[in-house]
Symmetry: C2
Subunit: 258 residues, 2 copies
C-alpha cells in the first residue's frame, strides 16, 4: 500500500494541477427575502456530480463558508454555500449573531424553508446530479443541516461540524433519509451531555442511520481558525480535530454518494 | 478527484495484484506460559514498515484474529496476532471465555505483561520499524490494547473495536503516549453510558489524545460475522459499522504512522 500511495500521490498532484475550482455568487430568494450564496465547482470535472450544500455559522454567509465550499468542490463535488439570513447580512459580534440565528432556531419551519431554498439552487445548478445531494454545516449550520435531515429532505448525507443538536420537537420514525454524521468537540461547553443523549434518543426513535465522533480537547468552532487558539474560552480552533473531521466527512460523503 | 480516483483504482488494482500476504505461526513465552501468535506481512513490501499488534476477543487466539492480522498486513503493515491465553487455548462457550478473560481483567499487571510479550515479538519481527508500532483489538482485545496505552507502551496508536473501557485504576497524567481511538456500537448493552463517561474522564485526566466513534444500531462484537445477525441479543455482526470502523482505523493508523 505504501508503494500504491506513492503512485497515488504522484498522479494525484498531476491531476490536481489540472483541476481548477471555479466560483460565482448566486442571488436567489426565499419569498420576499433576497439571499446570496456561493457556487463552487471543479472546472476539470465532466458529467453530473453530487452536490453538497454548505451551511454557514451563526455569523452568516461569510468568507469562511465560501472557502469551505471551495474545498468541497476540490473534492470533486459541486458545492453551494447558501445564505440563511439575507444578501450581505453578516454579524460582527456574538450578540448580533445571536439575534440573527435565534429567530430561526425558534421557527424551525422557517429554518427548513430557508434551507430548502438553498438546496433548490444546488439541485438545479449546472453539473449537479440532483439524485445525489448532501448538506454539511458548521455550528449553526450544523443545526440547519440536521434540520433538513429531520424534515426528510432528499439528501444522501448530512454532516454537522460542532453543531447544536437540539430538536424543535420529536422526529417521526422513518423521516430521516440522510445518513447523519455528527462531528463533535468532546470539550465543547455549548453542547451538553444531556443534549448529546437526547439527540441519540431522537435519532434512534426516528430509526436514522447516524454516527457521532468525539474529538478530545476540541471545543466549539474547532474547524475555524478565526475562533482563536484558547480552548478555555469554549470556542477555539483545533488543527488536529479540523483535519480529522474533514477526513471523516470525506469518507461519509464517499459512502453516501456510492 | 473522480478522475484521480479512477487512476488510483487502476493503479491500485495493478499493485494489489502484486502484493501477497504471507503468514506464519510464532511460538513465544510469557514466563513459563507458552503462547502462539500469528505473523502476517505483505511479501511485496520492502524496507521497514510499521507494526500492528492484533489482540483477539475473549474467545482466544482464533481464526478471526488471524484473518484480521492478514487484513492489516494487506494495508502494508506487519501484523502480529498475539495470544493472551496460551498455545491452543480456545473457549467454545461464553462461560469458558469468561473464565479465561476474567483473571486478566482482574490482574491488570498480568494483562499488561502478557500483552507486552506479544508486542516484543512484533517489535523484533523482520521488516518491522520498531519506532512505529500500534495495537488494535476486538472486545476483550480492545480492552487489552487500551491497557497497553494506559501502561505507557511505546505505541503510536491504539484502536479498540467494541472493547470494554473500564480502567483498573487511575491513569497518570502524561502516561498515554498512543493516540487512542475507540470504535463503539451505540447500542452495545455491554458498555454503559457511565463506562463511556468514566473513560472520557480518565483519558482527559491523563491528557491523552483520544477520539470516540459511535455507530447507530451497532451492538457488541459488531465486526465479527460469527456474532450472528440479531442485535436484540446484544451481540451481533453489523456490516455497515464493520466497514466504517475499518476505514476509521485505517485513517487513524495512517496519521499515527506519519
Amino acid at each position: 500500500m505504501r508503494t500504491l500511495w506513492t503512485v497515488v500521490a504522484v498522479f494525484g498532484l498531476a491531476l490536481l494541477a489540472e483541476a481548477e475550482v471555479k466560483t460565482r455568487a448566486v442571488e436567489y430568494r426565499d419569498g420576499d427575502v433576497v439571499l446570496e450564496g456561493w457556487l463552487a465547482w471543479d472546472d476539470a470535472a465532466t458529467g453530473p456530480r453530487p452536490g453538497v450544500l454548505v451551511v454557514h455559522e451563526w455569523w452568516g454567509h461569510n468568507d469562511y463558508a465560501r472557502k469551505r465550499a471551495e474545498q468541497v468542490a476540490a473534492e470533486g463535488y459541486v458545492a453551494f454555500a447558501l445564505d440563511m439570513y439575507g444578501k450581505g447580512v453578516l454579524a460582527t459580534t456574538a450578540e448580533e449573531a445571536g439575534k440573527l440565528a435565534m429567530p430561526l432556531y425558534k421557527d424551525r419551519a422557517g429554518m427548513r424553508r430557508r434551507a430548502k431554498a438553498g438546496l433548490d439552487v444546488l439541485a438545479k445548478a449546472p453539473g449537479v446530479d440532483a439524485t445525489r445531494l448532501a448538506s454539511i454545516g458548521y455550528c449553526f449550520g450544523g443545526s440547519v443541516s440536521l434540520e433538513l435531515a429531520r424534515d426528510g429532505a432528499d439528501l444522501k448525507g448530512v454532516v454537522s461540524f460542532h453543531g447544536g443538536l437540539k430538536a424543535g420537537g420529536p422526529t417521526a420514525r422513518g423521516a430521516v433519509k440522510a445518513r447523519v454524521l455528527v462531528l463533535h468537540g468532546a470539550a465543547d461547553p455549548h453542547v451538553s451531555a444531556e443534549e448529546l443523549a437526547a439527540f441519540e434518543a431522537e435519532m434512534n426513535a426516528a430509526g436514522a442511520d447516524w454516527s457521532l465522533v468525539k474529538y478530545s480537547g476540541a471545543v466549539h468552532a474547532f474547524t475555524n481558525p478565526a475562533a482563536g487558539s484558547d480552548p478555555s474560552k469554549g470556542v477555539a480552533y483545533d488543527e488536529r480535530a479540523d483535519r480529522r473531521s474533514w477526513q471523516a466527512m470525506r469518507l461519509w460523503l464517499e459512502e453516501a454518494f456510492e
